[in-house]
């Protein structure tokens, strides 16, 4: 795997192919409320990743018998558009998309107050428009912004980052090449305020201490993503700030 193909992922100064340091995130920009029809939506660019998320709900469950009597159902569909990757991806759902839909749902579920709207569903649709490594965690980061934008009650947002292993060293937010030629990939998602991990997976080889270190690195990166999530949501509705400050509420 690593280096065997003749690709050096780190230079002599320990900088990565795209110039980043090992613990550096790619440039991340999130926009909230980008779609008119969806109840909530968000768009994220993380490096060359471009992912759009739409949330519909709470709404009636179809088919009706799938409704849960005591809580809201959360349904999640992760999908990659055919032109999102270099070799056209067949539009039919792949096994990878089926698995990612499940783990993404399970990453968002702990944050939502599901008991507030029994017998309804909230549907999260994730479309990867362009992919360049770490799409599942970027999707989670955008999806929780879309859920907040839709007014879904939550105890925290959820943000995610991948920790990779390139030439024996742990690296934050690996891109496509680093994922393909590196020695491991560990996507991690957390509720930032609570410090609770809602998604953790791995492939490759990690020692026990590397897992501990990865968790720490992820936590720091997720704190930065959380700031961007808040910024995106606040900026969307910031016009209100001017109006309220112009009025005297407190006398």
């Amino acid at each position: 795997m690593g280096g065997a193909e003749g690709i050096k992922l780190l230079d002599e100064e320990g900088r990565r192919l795209d110039g980043r340091a090992l613990n550096e995130l790619r440039k991340c920009r999130i926009e909230a409320g980008v779609l008119k029809n969806a109840n909530g939506s968000a768009y994220i660019e993380l490096g060359r990743n471009k992912i759009l998320v739409a949330v519909y709900g709470p709404r009636e469950v179809h088919p009706r018998h799938e409704a849960l009597p005591d809580r809201m159902l959360l349904r999640c569909k992760y999908s990659m558009l055919p032109f999102s990757v270099p070799d056209r991806k067949n539009p039919a759902p792949s096994r990878r998309e089926v698995e990612l839909s499940k783990v993404i749902r399970e990453a968002l579920e702990p944050a939502i107050f599901l008991e507030e709207y029994p017998r309804t569903t909230v549907d999260v649709y994730i479309e990867v428009i362009e992919a360049d490594g770490s799409t599942r965690v970027a999707s989670i980061t955008a999806a929780s912004v879309a859920l907040a934008d839709a007014g879904i009650p939550m105890r925290d947002l959820v943000a995610g980052v991948s920790v990779g292993k390139i030439e024996g060293k742990l690296a934050i937010d690996i891109n496509g090449i680093e994922d393909q030629y590196g020695e491991g990939d560990m996507p991690i998602a957390m509720m930032p305020r609570l410090g609770e991990i809602t998604l953790i997976q791995a492939d490759g080889r990690f020692t026990r201490d590397e897992v501990v270190q990865a968790l720490q690195m992820a936590r720091e990166a997720i704190a930065k993503l959380y700031e961007e999530q808040k910024r995106a949501l606040k900026e969307k509705y910031s016009r209100i700030l001017e109006e309220v400050e112009g009025s005297e509420v407190m006398r």
């Binding site: 709207y117 007014g151 105890r155 609570l194 606040k234 209100i240 700030l241 309220v244 009025s247 509420v249």
Partner: protein
């Protein structure tokens, strides 16, 4: 003298779910949850600091959940053997049973669509709702029933109280100045009925604009401003009264 003020957000600040709003003894209104003495926003909201120890969280988006006794404006979307299915702009579809249509028992009408058909709009009252069953409606009482004229405006359900205003200020103002009657459904639907369709349109426009922003400090003043703008741009200054 060191205890920090309990409210941790500034007036007009947008807060995200899970964000700390206040800590310590104070009043937090609007959707929130608490952990010990810490209070957090539950949904994306704007925080309005009403007093040094009172903050109100106004959700930017909130679905309508039916409450017994609410007046709602609904749309017939389906017909069953003994009931109609009514869309009340809620995650919960409502049912109107044929027994809740006429004040006195009448001869059986086999074809329900002759009474109400798909697409009809009704003003109804919520008879009951518990999360285990669909909400049940009635149109038996006075002032309820099928709507045959007027304009229907949809606004975010959480902003309905703004239209009603303090003691009906906004409703009364619009009635006086534009000669329209408003039926305000708690589910975010407002019916505007007037003799003059132009005035109806102005009223509908004003209501829509009034409810666009998450927070409006003085709804009556804003309504007046909007009405004046709308009337003057149509070359009709003054209206009635």
């Amino acid at each position: 003298m060191g205890t920090p003020m309990p409210i941790r957000v500034s007036n007009g600040q947008i807060v995200v779910p899970g964000e700390l709003v206040a800590e310590g003894r104070c009043e937090v209104l609007g959707p929130h949850f608490s952990s010990g003495r810490r209070h957090y926003a539950k949904v994306l909201s704007v925080a309005v600091v009403e007093k040094p120890r009172r903050v109100r969280l106004i959700p930017l988006k909130r679905s309508y959940v039916p409450v017994e006794g609410d007046i709602v404006i609904g749309k017939v979307v389906d017909i069953g053997p003994t009931s109609w299915v009514i869309d009340i702009n809620s995650p919960y579809m409502a049912l109107l049973q044929v027994s809740e249509v006429f004040p006195r028992p009448t001869t059986l009408q086999r074809d329900l669509s002759k009474i109400l058909k798909v697409g009809d709009v009704v003003i109804a009252k919520v008879l009951s709702f518990d999360f285990a069953h669909d909400p049940l409606l009635t149109i038996k009482e006075s002032k309820l029933g099928k709507v045959s004229k007027g304009l229907l405006v949809e606004i975010p359900p959480s902003r309905v109280s703004r239209i009603i205003g303090r003691k009906g200020q906004v409703v009364n103002y619009l009635r006086d100045v534009l000669d329209v009657e408003l039926v305000v459904g708690r589910n975010g639907r407002v019916l505007v009925v007037g003799e003059d369709s132009e005035r109806e349109a102005v009223a509908a426009y004003v209501i829509k604009r009034l409810c666009e922003e998450a927070y409006v400090p003085d709804p009556l003043a804003t309504a007046k401003q909007l009405v004046e703008e709308a009337l003057s741009s149509r070359g009709d200054v003054g209206g009635r009264g």
